[in-house]
């Protein structure tokens, strides 16, 4: 890359089931202003804006980037939207980083948002299109069979998903911006109702309203703050939903994305060289599945790391320090929240959920039918 890229501003809204106190422009502006303040910048300092949100049917707003441009100070500046389903928050940040690294812009505001309370994602996912069989399952119903396959393939301990649900909610208690603040015991999670067998109610993410923004700059502006997070690697990979022989549990695109981003960041042993990771886990069982997919564990072994407590905040490899998607899920913003939390960790600004001495962190997002992947590696050192 021609230029180094640093994250110098991070802002997010308080996430809630409903932010009807704010319009959509008000919501994105709240996050953007916090990021600008964090970067010690004003709207005038920004060269371009990259915005991401989930598919249009999730909110029923076509081309929100045009409607929201005034709220984001974009008059007379380039603004465009990235569009990769649930992984969009991640790939939006990657595009923004590329604009800086490619020398196109020096100071980029990137932002992702969702107001789930204004729509119904379950409806948007199950349209009754003529000739097509209706997906009679909703989001959880699509992923539950994959989880069943994972459990069978790896012979995983049946409590693994419950352990993740307890751990991520404990972390969420430390995050004042998180939507859910739930102090749950393992017994409570195990006793919660089955929604999409084998996924229990307490093993699923909520529906949230919220936004997150970051300011990404080139080398010469990084000195505005004393603790920039340096972008050491970025990657985006995609595969089709269905093809013969597709491994849906451990998708090739996810493995390639991880391999690519580690290569760019010069990481050969993720478990040794990465201090913590913020990974897109909308159903708790995806923690062990992605531990394997992203190379933190051998195939079939991910659940053991979870069961041994290694992914806890005080464990060897903390995952989802902020409480993750399990506590906060404004779909379009969920990926960027992961990327932002990774950057907060290496900046040392993660407050109550800070991992002591974190220097290298991974942010990850996925979307669609486990088919869109985006990752970045950030570091406290350039």
């Amino acid at each position: 890359m021609a230029e180094h890229c640093a994250v110098i501003g991070i802002g997010q809204t308080k996430h809630r089931e409903s932010r009807r106190d704010l319009s959509m422009p008000g919501l994105v502006r709240d996050a953007a202003l916090r990021a600008l303040q964090d970067a010690d910048m004003t709207w005038k300092d920004i060269d371009s804006i990259v915005i991401g949100t989930a598919p249009d049917m999730f909110e029923g707003v076509m081309m929100p980037e045009l409607w929201l441009s005034d709220a984001l100070g974009a008059a007379g500046k380039p603004i465009f939207r990235v569009h990769t389903a649930g992984s969009v928050g991640g790939s939006t940040a990657v595009v923004a980083a590329h604009l800086v690294q490619g020398g196109v812009h020096e100071k980029v505001l990137t932002l992702a948002f969702e107001k789930q309370s204004e729509a119904n994602a379950m409806w948007a996912l199950s349209p009754a299109i003529p000739f097509q069989p209706q997906l009679v399952a909703g989001a959880g119903g699509y992923f539950a069979p994959l989880i069943r396959s994972y459990i069978r393939r790896s012979d995983a301990h049946p409590d693994t998903g419950c352990m993740v649900a307890v751990k991520d909610r404990q972390n969420g208690l430390l995050n004042p911006n998180a939507h859910l603040h739930l102090d749950l015991t393992l017994e409570q999670v195990k006793a919660s109702p089955m929604l999409w067998d084998p996924i229990r109610f307490s093993e699923t993410c909520p529906s949230s309203d919220g936004a997150v923004a970051m300011v990404l700059v080139s080398d010469k502006h990084a000195g505005r703050v004393k603790n920039p997070a340096w972008v050491k690697g970025t990657s985006v990979r995609t595969e089709r939903t269905f093809f013969a022989g597709r491994d849906q549990v451990n998708p090739a695109a996810g493995k390639l994305c991880a391999k690519d981003v580690y290569g760019e960041a010069g990481i050969t042993n993720p478990t040794k060289e990465i201090d913590c990771a913020e990974v897109y886990v909308p159903f708790s069982w995806f923690e062990p599945m992605w531990l394997e997919n992203l190379g933190f564990a051998d195939e079939g072994e991910g659940w053991k790391m979870t069961m041994e407590g290694k992914t806890a905040l005080d464990g060897e490899m903390p995952w989802n320090m902020s409480g993750g998607v399990m506590c906060t899920n404004p779909i379009g913003a969920s990926g960027m929240l992961r990327f932002a939390e990774a950057a907060r960790q290496v900046r040392g600004t993660a407050e109550q959920h800070q991992v002591d001495g974190a220097k290298v962190a991974v942010g990850h997002a996925y979307g669609g039918g486990s088919q869109f992947f985006a990752m970045w590696v950030v570091s406290s050192e350039r």
Binding site: R20, E118, M122, Q134, L135, A137, S149, W196, F242, A244
Partner: protein, 302 residues
């Protein structure tokens, strides 16, 4: 025995009411959807206007135009409306302070549910369709919500395409049609025009069985918007014999606790005279009773 005598009796008469200069003007204005308050000698604004205020002083006769909205100061929920009430559905009686006034008006709030009522909530005035110069020219008040309905309505013509049409025509005849790239040999059900792994056209149509392996599944126990079935029900991935990709369908005819990965299942078709160009010709898949397929035989389909 001397039973006590009883007969219905209605006392009813329409009196004439002189409304006076203050209340009269207020009520007359309601006919024209104009809401006004009256000023008191000490500078307060009252709506509904009074001729004499609670200090016993005559009000000034100076009227002030008001915005037809206000704030609920107190309320009481009427779960079972009575005859003569403004609604035949549950509503609230409330004390409403009209914006720009210093007193409160008793009126109905059409909130639908008690949980929408809150002291301090904002309400707007709803005018009655027919007006006759009474307080009922104000039909009621309704909650002001900081959001609007945003309807979306799009109309499409859907053409399923050549290959999907071949699949649907097959279903109409009780057959499963797949498509195959002769070189790679993988059979896609439904056919899709090209093998995504090779990029080659799937130039051959092949018929596959209506029997196969249930590779994985979920039991759905959650209701959601647009759902046609009543939970719980089982939704599974089935790789039909001769196919290389799964189709998704309901699994039934077996207790949920007995459903297993690797179970052999067959299509339960509707009566033939109901067949259309639709996968709904199949009601569900049910066990064949054959031994389960070994895990290794279907693990590449997970």
């Amino acid at each position: 025995m001397n039973e006590i005598l009883s007969a219905p009796y209605v006392l009813e008469y329409t009196y004439t009411r002189s409304t006076g200069p203050v209340v009269g003007r207020f009520l007359e204005n309601l006919r024209y959807e104009v809401l006004e308050g009256v000023k008191t000698a000490d500078g307060r604004v009252l709506c509904p206007p009074l001729e004499y205020d609670e200090e016993g002083e005559p009000t000034t006769g100076e009227f002030v135009p008001l915005r037809p909205s206000g704030t609920v100061k107190s309320w009481s929920w009427v779960q079972e409306p009575r005859k003569g009430h403004p609604f035949d559905r549950p509503f609230a009686w409330a004390l409403i302070q009209i914006d720009g006034t210093d007193n409160a008006m008793v009126h109905a709030v059409d909130a639908g549910k008690a949980k929408r009522m809150k002291t301090g909530m904002r309400v707007r005035l709803r005018w009655a369709d027919e007006k006759n110069g009474t307080i009922r020219d104000i039909a009621c008040f309704e909650p002001i919500a900081p959001f609007l309905p945003g309807p979306v309505h799009l109309e499409y013509d859907v053409n399923p395409g050549k290959h999907y049409t071949a699949y649907l025509r097959g279903l109409q005849e009780g057959k499963f049609i797949g498509g195959r790239d002769p070189e790679a040999g993988k059979v896609y059900v439904p056919p899709r025009g090209a093998d995504p792994m090779t990029g080659n056209p799937t130039s051959e149509y092949v018929e596959v069985a209506d029997v196969g392996v249930l590779t994985t599944f979920t039991i759905i126990r959650i209701p959601f918007e647009g759902q046609k079935l009543t939970p719980p029900y089982c939704f599974g991935a089935i790789v039909l014999d001769g196919a290389d990709t799964p189709i998704y369908h309901l699994i039934s005819g077996v207790p949920h606790d007995d459903i297993r990965m690797g179970m052999r299942v067959k299509a339960k078709w509707k009566p033939q005279d109901e067949w259309e160009t639709s996968l709904e010709n199949i009601l569900y898949f049910e066990p064949t009773g054959e031994p389960d397929a070994p895990f290794d035989s279907y693990k590449e389909h997970l």
